[in-house]
């Protein structure tokens, strides 16, 4: 029976398979099993970090840049993280929905949304093409930057 929780063994990062658990029983010594379920660590930071990393990678990959006003970037990343926490997927935070769960299931507006993937259109101003007036030079944003910018809301 496979575990539904991603688990890593502390030594060497090898995947831990319950069926091949140490024949001697409980792992000990330097073997540490770390299990992470979504939101297990207090939720706020994990999703925030996931969406932060995603945003940086996706900007690089799509050759887009963050807004000159990084607060916009921070707010959107926070919105994505919140939806990831509450809905299970990073639904676009810059839209109003009649039924969010249905939208998540449908997928069109899960970040990166179809308009972004197809035409690099991000009305959230998260991923901006270089020709956009609002586009800055950054494709990076730190967790501290995000937390500071969003702490006031």
């Amino acid at each position: 029976m496979t575990s539904t929780v991603a688990a890593t063994v502390g030594c060497g990062g090898l995947p831990f398979r319950p069926s091949s658990a140490s024949p001697r029983g409980r792992p000990r010594g330097r073997w540490v099993v770390r299990a992470q379920a979504a939101g297990a660590d207090g939720s706020d930071d994990k999703s925030l970090e996931v969406m932060r990393k995603f945003s940086e990678q996706y900007a690089r990959r799509s050759n887009t840049y963050f807004c000159t006003d990084k607060t916009v970037t921070a707010v959107v990343i926070k919105g994505l993280a919140d939806h990831r926490d509450t809905l299970g997927a990073p639904l676009c935070p810059c839209r109003h929905y009649d039924d969010k769960a249905a939208e998540v299931a449908q997928g069109f507006w899960n970040c990166p949304c179809v308009p972004m993937r197809e035409r690099k259109e991000c009305h959230c101003m998260l991923f901006l093409t270089p020709d956009n007036d609002f586009a800055g030079q950054d494709q990076v944003i730190s967790l501290e930057e995000i937390k500071e910018a969003t702490s006031k809301f």
């Binding site: 000159t68 990084k70 926070k78 935070p93 839209r95 109003h96 009305h123 101003m125 006031k152 809301f153």
Partner: protein
């Protein structure tokens, strides 16, 4: 004060300095500058710090020029003496937050012509549904209680003023 089902913060008339009009807003700031925390906003003419305990559906401590309660959006439309610019927003919508100081500026400049109203689409989903709001921010200009012009997305103050003045100039 017993809470009505609907509650808006509106910035009316003479504001001497930019000030937040809803809990999620802050004192206006220049792009790339630090956000100024609510408590450090300089006092300004006509402003009063909201000392009342938080009303149902709203966050604590807000600095606002004028806060009015309406039992429904319809009542707001009905009782408004001026055309309305309604900003449909959400807290975690980046462009919506970007528009906060711009709306402040525009509301001051056009205070005699239009009243700015903000609707949190997460709190007032039925109103957002009624007007088929999709992208945020969406701006709808209401004249005589009816929507007469609608546009989406963040835009600079001068363009927003242009949109408003064009909409108001059209005769019915």
């Amino acid at each position: 004060m017993p809470m009505a089902a609907f509650n808006t913060a509106t910035a009316a008339g003479a504001l001497a300095s930019p000030a937040p009009r809803r809990p999620s807003a802050l004192a206006a700031r220049l792009p790339a500058a630090r956000w100024v925390p609510l408590r450090c906003s300089p006092p300004a003419l006509g402003l009063r710090r909201g000392t009342a305990p938080s009303r149902r559906g709203s966050a604590a401590l807000r600095v606002e020029a004028k806060k009015q309660s309406f039992s429904s959006f319809d009542e707001l439309l009905e009782k408004s003496e001026k055309p309305l610019l309604v900003d449909f927003y959400a807290t975690w919508c980046g462009p919506c937050q970007y528009m906060v100081p711009i709306l402040q500026e525009v509301s001051e400049k056009l205070s005699d012509k239009i009243q700015v109203v903000k609707i949190d689409t997460e709190k007032y989903t039925s109103i957002a549904n009624r007007y088929r709001i999709e992208a945020l921010p969406t701006f709808i200009i209401f004249k005589d209680g009816k929507p007469c012009h609608r546009f989406e997305g963040a835009l600079p103050a001068n363009q927003l003023i242009e949109q408003i003045e064009n909409a108001l100039a059209v005769t019915k």
